[in-house]
């Protein structure tokens, strides 16, 4: 019904006309800039609302009057106990049960066994090898500090996500209430989560664990709900006819049948945890992230690359393991096989672990690799990088100079020069053109709130950085995506690369750019471009590959050349999927710009970092929400565009 009503609206032509009028007005405002009253140039002082004070008041009320502080502190104490247990086991922190640390060889063997059980010998080699590398490179302590938090945070987050996801599936009102919260939560930058946690918990591992739990819950909720909704009706009916009570139905029918989706949720939780734990170094979380932060700030490239490799390896291993678990299909055993024959991995693992324990007693190197004896490739790496940088230095210096003087600074000044009223009108025009009155209002709402928050200039700098980066990323990503689909094998290779790159914590992308460009805006843009190009390439490939073979054959039989095929058949068909890529790309850019702020930008990110160090919750939340609103505005436009295309009968 609603779709059918929307078709004439999109076709009547008033949409474009109103949009043009709005755009024209915006242009007039720009042209007549010098004549404008100050109130149209920048949001007038009187209109700026003290959101930050309000939020601070709410938080103060929650903390002091409602006594929420006690609750969070109690929860944090329990978490701390768990963290201490894992810390003791993994790196020998002097806490109960005081049996750790486990010899590194035992951990490596266990991870290899897990890899073998889930995905065969390749995965076993990858995950076992990763832990050997960590030990041999002398990074055991840091890596275990990081992992000990994930080991505690991920289960909490999974459980919480499951419960909330079930609630959202079960009660429509819960889903309706949950959806906007999740939308905002998934577009809030990482730092926005940290400030309230610092207020309530303080800094250190437990704060890191809590922020990690909160940050990684949303995808679990989403996937649980999705999985439960996707359970085939017949399976549920079969359960009901089997006489299952509602609880039995959920436990024995729905949840097991939704297994794959739920486990993909688990995979996402684990990856989000890793990304957050690395970033939580900003609030005093020890481990790989903190080390990397220190080394990057000290510009020790070789050592930070070493840490970077470790983080990347851990990310890939965790991703592959959890994905293999999600994709695993049950396989039957022949009847009458003995327990040992049915569980060969378990048996080998147990034997190997016992052997490793015994050997570790005799050969201390198998229990712990002291830092003095550890290998390091930092020296040669530094030399290599130095040589490389000296080689490309003329190029990078020129590029840096060119970008800063001719593109970045003029663009930024241009953004700041624009009257805010003109920007708002232009955004409303874009909204109207795509989704009519409602979208225009949505755009005005999101950006109007940003204007009222008093952070307009900072926000415009973020917009310019993101806009410019996504543009460059698109100029790289689209052609690369198209190139990759030339052959199936190539497409698969590039997709694998993209998938792998997407598992890296965003922090990692800063290492090479700092190495190449130093600490400045160009480095930030370069990091954002790299990070944002990945989803663009990925979705371009997936979109193009999704074109039905029949359609391509029909075009071939109509005598289309390769070019014609691309422009008239494949790209139009792939466009909706590519738009999803654009959407994700914008979201990634926003996150990256904010993270990159610590290497020096003047946008919202910098202020967010200041709010973090001053633990100013109100300011932090306002800034975080400003970032989220930008992401949500783009998200809204892209979704409306796809919806409209679908309503017009185009593939979407």
């Amino acid at each position: 019904m609603s779709l059918a009503e929307r078709i004439p609206l999109a076709r009547t032509g008033t949409g474009p006309r109103v949009a043009l009028i709005l755009l024209g007005t915006a242009l007039l405002l720009v042209i007549g800039r010098n004549l404008l009253p100050a109130g149209l140039m920048r949001p007038p002082e009187g209109l700026i609302l003290p959101f930050a004070d309000w939020i601070n008041a709410v938080f103060a009320f929650l903390r002091d009057d409602l006594g929420l502080m006690q609750v969070t502190r109690a929860f944090a104490a329990m978490l701390e106990w768990l963290l201490d247990v894992t810390a003791n086991l993994l790196y020998g922190k002097n806490r109960w049960p005081r049996i750790g640390p486990l010899p590194w060889s035992v951990v490596a063997i266990s991870m290899a066994a897990l890899g073998w059980a889930l995905g065969g010998w390749r995965l076993a080699a990858l995950s076992g090898g990763t832990f050997v590398w960590i030990a041999v490179m002398g990074q055991w302590q840091w890596a275990m500090e990081t992992l000990s938090v994930i080991v505690v945070a991920a289960p909490f987050s999974i459980l919480l996500g499951l419960v909330v996801g079930i609630a959202a599936w079960r009660w429509t009102w819960a889903a309706r209430a949950m959806n906007p919260i999740l939308n905002i939560a998934q577009s809030l930058p990482h730092f926005a989560y940290m400030i309230p946690v610092v207020v309530f918990i303080g800094v250190g591992p437990k704060a890191g664990a809590i922020v990690t739990i909160i940050f990684s819950v949303p995808p679990m909720i989403r996937m649980t709900e999705l999985g439960l909704r996707k359970v085939p009706e017949e399976v549920v009916e079969a359960g009901r006819m089997g006489g299952a009570t509602p609880w039995q139905l959920l436990r024995s029918v729905r949840l097991p049948t939704a297994r794959t989706e739920i486990l993909i949720g688990v995979n996402q939780v684990i990856m989000q945890c890793l990304a957050m734990v690395v970033l939580a170094s900003f609030i005093g979380m020890p481990g790989l992230g903190q080390k990397l932060l220190q080394l990057l700030q000290a510009l020790k490239i070789g050592l930070s690359v070493e840490i970077g490799i470790t983080i990347v390896l851990i990310a890939v291993v965790l991703d592959r393991l959890s994905k293999a678990w999600a994709m695993r299909q049950p396989v039957h055993h022949d009847e009458g096989r003995t327990w040992v024959r049915r569980h060969p991995v378990l048996v080998v693992w147990a034997l190997a672990v016992v052997a490793a324990f015994v050997l570790a007693q005799a050969v201390p190197l198998l229990a712990e690799v002291p830092r003095r004896q550890a290998l390091s490739i930092a020296g040669p790496l530094d030399a290599l990088v130095d040589g490389f940088i000296r080689l490309v230095d003329p190029v990078t210096t020129w590029l840096r100079w060119f970008l800063i003087t001719w593109l970045l600074i003029p663009l930024r000044d241009g953004m700041l020069w624009l009257p805010f009223s003109a920007v708002l009108l232009a955004l409303a025009a874009a909204g109207w053109a795509i989704g009519g009155l409602r979208s225009a209002l949505v755009m005005l709402g999101f950006f109007g709130l940003i204007a009222l928050s008093g952070w307009w200039d900072r926000a415009m700098i973020t917009v310019y950085m993101v806009g410019f980066s996504v543009l460059i990323a698109a100029m790289i990503g689209f052609p690369l995506g198209i190139w990759a689909t030339r052959s199936d094998a190539r497409a698969r290779r590039v997709l694998l690369l993209c998938d792998t790159a997407q598992t890296f914590p965003s922090f990692i992308y800063l290492i090479p750019v700092v190495m190449l460009f130093g600490v400045n805006d160009v480095a930030v843009v370069a990091a954002v471009v790299t990070f944002a190009a990945v989803p663009l390439i990925r979705y371009t490939i997936e979109g193009l590959r999704g074109v039905p073979a029949e359609l391509v054959e029909a075009a071939q039989m109509s005598g289309a050349t390769r070019q014609q095929m691309l422009w008239h058949v494949r790209l139009p068909f792939a466009l909706p999927v590519m738009m999803v890529g654009v959407n994700q790309s914008v979201m990634f850019s926003l996150f990256m710009v904010i993270i990159a702020a610590f290497i020096g930008t003047q946008d919202l990110g910098q202020e967010l970092q200041r709010a973090l160090s001053a633990t100013d919750v109100g300011k932090g939340m306002v800034l975080g929400l400003a970032v989220a609103f930008m992401g949500l505005a783009v998200d809204h436009l892209v979704k409306r565009l796809t919806e409209r295309r679908r309503a017009e009968g185009m593939p979407g």
């Binding site: 399976v235 079969a238 006489g243």
Partner: protein, 351 residues
């Protein structure tokens, strides 16, 4: 013996109470089904906006031990009807009695108990749990009612053996072929020894050869188990092959509910007639269906009433009598057959 006795369900002797009894059952899908129902009460041909009338004033009885096939094309409401009988769907109005109890009034616990003890159902796409192997799938209903592990596994093994899947107990659904998966579904539905057996297009998802094989298998089980069966299909041939009685549905209404013989011989509506037009009647009509009651006994050997004219073709051609007696399974003469009429049907002429 009166004609109606011959033509109704063969199994029950004497007046039995129906196992399932539908009285003016309606099922309307949409945002406000009751309002739509009220609208239809005023104007029976109304088409309420935004609503779908899936079951339209259906009244029928299913007798103990009878096999009723509900036949209809997709969208005719046949699947919805059977889901109302098992209360997987709540009906909009009317009443459904199962063994004399109105199931709409059962509490949740009573309903679950009914399903655990009395009902079994087989689904078109099998509805197997992907994470359990064949044995655990079959044991599922037993597990739900809290039977201990040992006895339910034992029972599940028996059931799998019954449907010919011995040796495949530990296979997971995705490791089995479609036909095998449906055998698991059948075994599961029979595990609780239900009195009432629902089958919702059980063979539609299978390819034709397997379908045929499964139909034979089904007939074998049916003969062994003697349950009250409600079988849904969109395949008229399948309905004729399996049914004691057929209910033909269209747009939520039952167009005709009768024995295969009667449906073929005297279709109630044009719609039913269109189905029967293409049918080879000799394969469907049984001697007893065509026989007329007669006052005077006819001499000589009689024909078995349960066989189709096609099966009796040789005897019909060779017999020289104009009127041939027809006997039931017990050997009692139930009527006489007019040979000329039978030969006409056999040779493709008018009935």
């Amino acid at each position: 013996m009166p004609v109606t006795q011959v033509l109704s369900a063969p199994a029950p002797q004497g007046p039995a109470d129906p196992v399932i009894s539908c009285r003016n059952v309606w099922k309307i899908f949409g945002p406000r089904p009751q309002a739509a129902r009220a609208e239809l009460r005023l104007d029976p041909d109304a088409r309420p906006q935004g609503h779908v009338v899936a079951v339209h004033d259906v009244t029928l009885d299913v007798m103990p031990g009878e096999m009723l096939v509900v036949m209809g094309l997709s969208g005719s409401g046949k699947s919805t009807l059977v889901r109302c009988l098992s209360r997987l769907n709540e009906i909009t109005s009317g009443e459904i009695l199962v063994e004399g109890r109105e199931i709409g009034r059962l509490s949740e616990a009573e309903l679950i108990d009914l399903r655990r003890r009395k009902m079994g159902m087989v689904f078109q796409s099998f509805g197997l749990l992907p994470n359990r192997n064949a044995l655990e799938n079959v044991a599922f209903p037993l597990e739900m009612r809290g039977q201990d592990r040992r006895s339910r596994i034992e029972r599940a093994r028996e059931m799998l053996a019954l449907v010919g899947l011995k040796g495949r107990e530990s296979y997971f659904p995705r490791e089995l072929s479609g036909g095998q998966q449906q055998r698991v579904g059948i075994a599961r539905s029979l595990a609780v020894e239900p009195d009432i057996w629902f089958l919702d297009e059980p063979f539609s998802a299978l390819d034709p050869l397997i379908r045929r094989e499964m139909q034979d298998e089904f007939l074998r089980l049916k003969g062994m188990l003697r349950k009250t069966i409600i079988f849904i299909t969109h395949d008229f041939d399948e309905a004729l092959r399996l049914a004691d009685r057929i209910a033909i549905m269209k747009d939520g209404r039952v167009e005709q509910c009768d024995t295969p013989d009667r449906i073929v011989l005297s279709p109630a509506t044009d719609y039913v007639a269109r189905f029967t037009a293409e049918i080879d009647r000799a394969r469907v009509l049984r001697a007893s269906g065509l026989a007329a009651p007669t006052g005077q006994p006819v001499e000589g050997p009689s024909l078995p009433g349960g066989q189709t004219l096609r099966e009796l073709a040789r005897q019909l051609v060779n017999d020289s009598r104009d009127w041939i007696p027809v006997a039931d399974a017990a050997g009692r003469t139930t009527g006489v057959l007019e040979r000329a009429k039978a030969l006409d049907i056999l040779l493709g002429g008018a009935a």
